[in-house]
Every structure is written in C-alpha cells, then in structure tokens.
Subunit: 202 residues, 2 copies
DNA sequence: AATACAACCGGGGTAAAGTCCGTTTAGAAG
DNA sequence: CTTCTAAACGGACTTTACCCCGGTTGTATT
C-alpha cells in the first residue's frame, strides 16, 4: 500500500503562497513593514484576505516566512561553507565563525526580524532552534568539562539572537546604523568564545 | 529664583494611574493577560479609554509599568542586599549572584514580561539598561583583559534577559513549568561566569 | 470521464488597539 | 473668591488583525 503521497501542497496553493511572499517583499521595499497590512497585501496580490490568513496564520507569520527564506540560504552557507564555518576546523574556530556570520545575518535582516516577532513576543522558534542546535553541537564536540553543556549552549545562543540586536540597534543614537554595532558585537562574541575555550577542557 | 515646581503629576492623574494599575493586576489575576483589554480595563476602573492611553501609551505600556513596579523591589534587593549581591564580595561572586537572582525574578514574572513586549518587539529598555549597567559595572571592576568589556557585558546581559526565558519556557513540554528551566539556566550562568573569570585577568 | 472529497478561496463580520478633539478640572496666581 | 491655563478626561471614530463559512477547485480513484 504505497498510500500515494503525504498529501503535499496543492499546486494552486503553492502558486499563491509564492505570489504572496513576493508581493510582501515588494511592499516592504516600498513602504517598510508597517505598510504591509493584511488587506493591502491580499488586494495587491489579487487574492482574498482569508487566503492570506490560511497560509500564514498571523501577520507575523508572513515575516517569519520571509525570514525563513533567507535563513535557508544562511543555513546552506553554514553547513557547506569553507572550513572556518563548515567542518575542517576546531570547534572554537567554528563557533567564532558561526557567531560572526549569524550576527551579520541578523543585522542584514533587522527589519524583517523585528516584524516577525511583533505580537508574538516569543522568538521565531525555528530560528532559535537552529542557532541553539548548532552551538550545542560545537560545544559538545569541544568537550569542555561543563556540567550542563546544553544550558550553556542556550545562554550563548542568546547572545546571537534577534532581541539583543534589536535592542542594540534601537536604543542608540541614530548614527550607528546597526552594522557598526554588529561589528562590535561580533568582536565581543569572538572574545567571549576564545576566553571560554582558553579556560581549558576540564 | 525658586521657579516653583517642575509641574509635577497632578493629584487626580496619580490617583487614576494607581487605580488603573491595581485594576489591571486584579484582572490579570482573574483572567490572565489576554483578559486585560483596554476597553475592559477602562470600564472596570470607571474611567474613559482615552485616559488609559494617555497614561500608558500602548497596551504593552501597562504591563511595562506593572513590571517596573516589581523591578523596583528587585533593584533594592540587589543594591542593598547581603554581600554576595551587594558590595562586599568579589566581582565574580557578585556577578553569579546577580544572575541567579535576575533569572529568578524573570521566571517569577514571566507572564507580565511576555505581555510587556507584545507588539513592541523591542525589549523594555529600562529593564535591559539596568541589567546591562550592572553587568558592565562588575565586569569593569573585574578588569579581565578584554578588548571591549562593554560589548561583552551586552552579550552576557542577553543571557539574563526575557526573550531567552520566554523561549525556554514556551517551547518545552508543558511539564517543567519554567521554574525548573530557570534553575538549569541559573546553574549554567554560574558555570559561564566562573569559567570566564578563571581564564585569567589578562 | 465521472465522482468524491479534501483543500482552497473570498470577502463580509467582529473585536480590540489606538486616535481625535471638544469638555472638564486641578491648582497656581492675583 | 475669581480667573486662567495646562493638564486630564471621555467616548465616538478609525483602522486593522483575525474569524467564519458557504461556495469553488484541484487531485486521486474508478
């Protein structure tokens, strides 16, 4: 009993999903995230409002989807990247490299990331899970003699996640547009990790 | 030139502010944060909606105010507390103690904290500022030989702030109600700090 | 090709956040 | 006590996220 298919996404549904994402991106480029209202999005995409909600659940869901599209690229970069990132270097080096790239990614996608957690307050779980899993993996490999490496991984992941950057980039005077702040954070991350590893494997 | 007063808060305004906060707390105890709508709050407090918005700006503002009331107690505890917290111990010990207490505080106030960042996405700046400032102070005192202690402080503060806890407490199976997760985080924090300091002051 | 049904579509309806502005009042000054 | 004004008040109004459900369409099966 082959049971056919796991009931995949219907062709028309897929078409509409892509159409909506594309439209959302265009609207965002033109008028910022606030301009992407559900009504306007539906109309400009030539679809009903109900359809938009069916696909994305909430407004934040749209931005999450947008962010995830980018995250796929990011993920590939990390997994298949050259040695400081991908396999081929020590855990410390990889962790440093990963953090730097991750921070850069978030800085580049600040607006979307911010919109993605509006009205949800909880972080986009998928993203955090990815970060957490990666950090945990490297931490386990490193085999520092920590009591609870997984919780440590959680704490470290916090330093690489959206809310921190949102804070840094929102409070400060309008000058440093975020990219500079991102650089400082990346350097600090490197310091943090190196210090952590220098304290010895046991 | 005494210049009179800086035009303080009017008596009726103060009365109403307190009345609103008390009402909000009561409503939250009864029906959770979702039950605190602006209309309902205004009505139950016997005031107009405009008044509510004048005082708190946004819905999240109400929860921020609530959280801040608690935070005052917390702040006093930290500043005046017995030696592991207040002055009288080394920076490492103080940092560990502070983190543990801070995590506990947030776990105790998860619901309010979550509601306080709804629809704002940026953290309650006041809170983060406090945490950041405290960590930075202790870090400077410790005089590890870090290139940029302030950025490091930022990263560490991230491990003590709301979003992290929200994530930990929301994703996991419903069993560990958060207090257990908080304990693991607190232990991990201790590990992290101790390791960081063990890596030597230069 | 016909049938069945699950998934999708549309758009009017609801509730709640946030805005506006005319009215009222606290409290300082004369 | 009267006057004056900045601040506070109220509640109707607007906007927008989100829900509902009858009608339509894609897809698999025979």
């Amino acid at each position: 009993m082959p049971l056919g298919k796991p009931r995949g996404e219907r062709a028309d549904a897929k078409r509409n999903r892509l159409r909506l994402l594309a439209t959302a991106r265009r609207m965002m480029a033109e008028g910022g995230p606030e301009s992407v209202t559900m009504d306007a999005l539906a109309e400009r995409a030539g679809l009903g409002k109900g359809t938009v909600f069916r696909r994305f659940g909430t407004r934040a869901g749209i931005f999450r989807a947008l962010l995830e599209e980018e995250a796929v690229r990011f993920q590939e970069l990390v997994l298949a990247g050259p040695p400081p990132l991908g396999p081929g270097a020590g855990p410390a080096e990889r962790l440093v490299a990963y953090g730097r790239v991750r921070i850069g990614f978030l800085v580049d996608n600040l607006e979307v990331a911010r919109a993605a957690m509006e009205r949800d307050s909880r972080l986009p779980a998928v993203q955090v899970d990815m970060t957490f899993a990666h950090v945990r993996m490297l931490l386990r490999q490193a085999d520092l003699g920590v009591r609870d490496p997984d919780s440590l991984a959680m704490q470290l992941a916090a330093a690489l996640e959206g809310p921190l950057l949102l804070y840094v980039s929102s409070g400060r005077d309008a000058e440093a547009p975020g990219s500079e702040a991102g650089l400082r954070l990346a350097d600090a991350w490197q310091d943090l990790v190196e210090r952590l590893f220098r304290s010895g494997p046991k």
